[in-house]
Amino acid sequence: MADPQPDNLLEVRDLVTAFDTDAGQLTAVDGVSFPVPRGRTLGIVGESGCGKSVTAMSIMRLLPQPMGKILSGEVLLGDTNLATLPRNEMRSIRGNRISMIFQEPMTALNPVQRIGQQISEVLLQHQDISKAEALDRSVEMLGKVGIPSPEIRATEYPHQLSGGMRQRVVIAIALACGPELVIADEPTTALDVTIQAQILQLINDLQRDLGMSVMLITHDLGVIAETCDEVCVMYAGRVVERAAAKEVFANPRHAYTQGLLNSIPRLDGKPKTELNIIEGMVPSLSELKAGCRFAPRSGREHKGHLLTERPSFEEIAPGHWVEACPVCTRA
């Protein structure tokens, strides 16, 4: 975290993603911009329905078809704009230079295919190697993600493994081709805390050893605090705050970030006392307003143009960006 201006592996600029539904076109991601620094971990935090996963799916170009579309904006990996890349070219990047770790380890794996085969599949797709070589590499990957007796496990099926072990397999698949960026979408949400600790440590260790960037999507601020260098806080399809993790926790400027941090019960808190709350709930996509979207829950009065014009996204301190609604960022 020493140098203030690390070079960026990937940059998302003004990304707008929408879904066609019976109720019309709904914008799930509304002009989101952030860089993913090289070799670092970027956390994306927010409650359900705030657009975290849709952002990830847009970068991966895995939006459900034909409803989901990227309407505008860029996803720059070096000079390549992934948002407009033809499908076959995207295929050579996905799983190879950028890969993904999914939330639900059971549904992310094919139940009727041996684990070794599932890892080989990625290798065979992207590298010019024989099946036997691919299988050897798969066994090696399984060892790397800490699965005991990998030769035997490679011949087994997903149902023979526990949840934690399955998630390790998903990680092995994601890392098989040595990607530059791994997007982990709630990788530990379905796991128990002791297993979560194992998996987060594994991701951290592998990141250090392989020098990749990680984009970690979670709703757990504890996970963010322990694993991320940078944090984007999302609310209702927009990034409301972005800064170094330490800065976000020590000096949150947006009312939503503050509310989120204040509302979680803490282990060192006073028991049986009233918790701080954020009133109301996350708005649904069909009722999003143009202005400050946190206005109805902020408990602060918003007037006039604050409700009708989108607040600008400003750098209020070096590296600390905030959606500068004057009411929500008031000290």
Partner: protein
């Protein structure tokens, strides 16, 4: 704290499910979901129950509510034995013990209006006239912070947090004394979670309820509970005052569990004790201390030879008497 009679007391409660196999579907083994659980809850108290998935937390809740008939041990509600009681005699106790479930999407009948859902307990217990019941439903909705108009609407029209409020209103309908909260906030977003926790604490203050609060989230449990019990593979391993268990855990599993929780503070340097392996299967639990295969301070053969018991080490503080916990110097990993 425990002056007078506890509202609920279990003694060596057992729930073994048969595992069927072979062509005749005979019981070939048993799944020891609860294997001798003893605990008590005082009036107006919250006992938090923490453990990982598959450790038997939910089974304990359901067995206490007599949704399962226990296969051994006793459950006493204010001194009356519930285990083995026939259905008809159980009915009055059904009013006293209610449950709130984890998934607010699946625990409400989608075809009933919210009013009908909350009214159902009154109908089952043949209480009040239609007009009275309507008034009670409106009162309950108000108590949990929903508008009276919600009674005419269907569950799908509500968000997760609001549905959980509906579930709470239903649980409160018969004025129970004990509510078993089975992961009531696990499916909710952070900002909604704190709203529901506040509601539960407020209702407890106003109505003098007792809670058995089941969760895998130790931070949530610690916040809401007076006492905490830690469960591992069908057995309690440590139980005591919540601050005491958290600040000075003595069982190696409790220590690992507490150290595994990510702390929302980037300046905090975790002294993490990452446990190896997974929770073993309750069908074929390891011999002796069930935690031994993962235990970082395993002493040796003794651990696999003797099944540890939960004993009261000091008044109100219970600990599994496995060798590694009891020997003080070995407990420092």
């Amino acid at each position: 704290m425990n002056n007078g009679q506890p509202i609920l007391e279990t003694d060596h409660l057992q729930m073994h499910f048969p595992v069927k196999g072979g062509i005749f579907r005979r019981a070939v083994a048993s799944c020891k979901a609860l294997d001798g659980v003893s605990l008590s809850i005082a009036p107006g108290e919250t006992l938090g129950l923490v453990g990982e998935s598959g450790c038997g937390k939910s089974t304990l809740g359901k067995t206490i509510a007599r949704l399962y008939e226990p296969t051994g041990g006793s459950v006493k509600f204010e001194g009356t034995e519930l285990a083995g009681l026939p259905r008809s005699e159980l009915r009055p106790f059904r009013r006293e013990i209610q449950m709130i479930f984890q998934d607010p999407y699946e625990s409400l009948n989608p075809r009933h209006t919210v009013g009908a859902i909350i009214e159902e307990p009154f109908v089952i217990h043949q209480m009040g006239t239609r007009e009275e019941r309507r008034q009670w439903v409106a009162d309950l909705l108000e108590k949990v912070g929903l508008p009276a108009a919600a009674a005419q609407r269907y569950p799908f029209e509500f968000s997760g947090g609001q549905r959980q409020r509906i579930g709470i209103a239903r649980a409160l309908a018969l004025k129970p004394r004990l509510i078993i909260c089975d992961e009531p906030v696990s499916a909710l977003d952070v900002s909604i979670q704190s709203q529901i926790l506040n509601l539960l604490m407020e209702l407890q203050r106003d109505l003098g309820l007792s809670y058995l609060f089941i969760s895998h989230d130790l931070a949530v449990v610690k916040h809401i509970s007076d006492r905490i019990a830690i469960m591992y593979l069908g057995k309690l391993v440590e139980m005591g005052d919540s601050a005491m268990v958290y600040e000075n855990p003595r069982h190696p599993y409790t220590k690992a569990l507490i150290s595994a929780i990510p702390v929302p503070d980037p300046t905090h340097v975790p002294e993490r004790q990452v446990l190896e392996g997974d929770v073993p299967s309750p069908i074929d639990p390891p011999p002796g201390c069930a935690f031994a295969p993962r235990c970082p301070v395993r002493v040796g053969d003794e651990c696999t030879l003797r099944v540890p018991e939960l004993v009261e080490m000091e008044p109100g503080y219970w600990l599994s008497d496995c060798t590694c916990c009891v020997t003080k110097d070995a407990s420092k990993a």
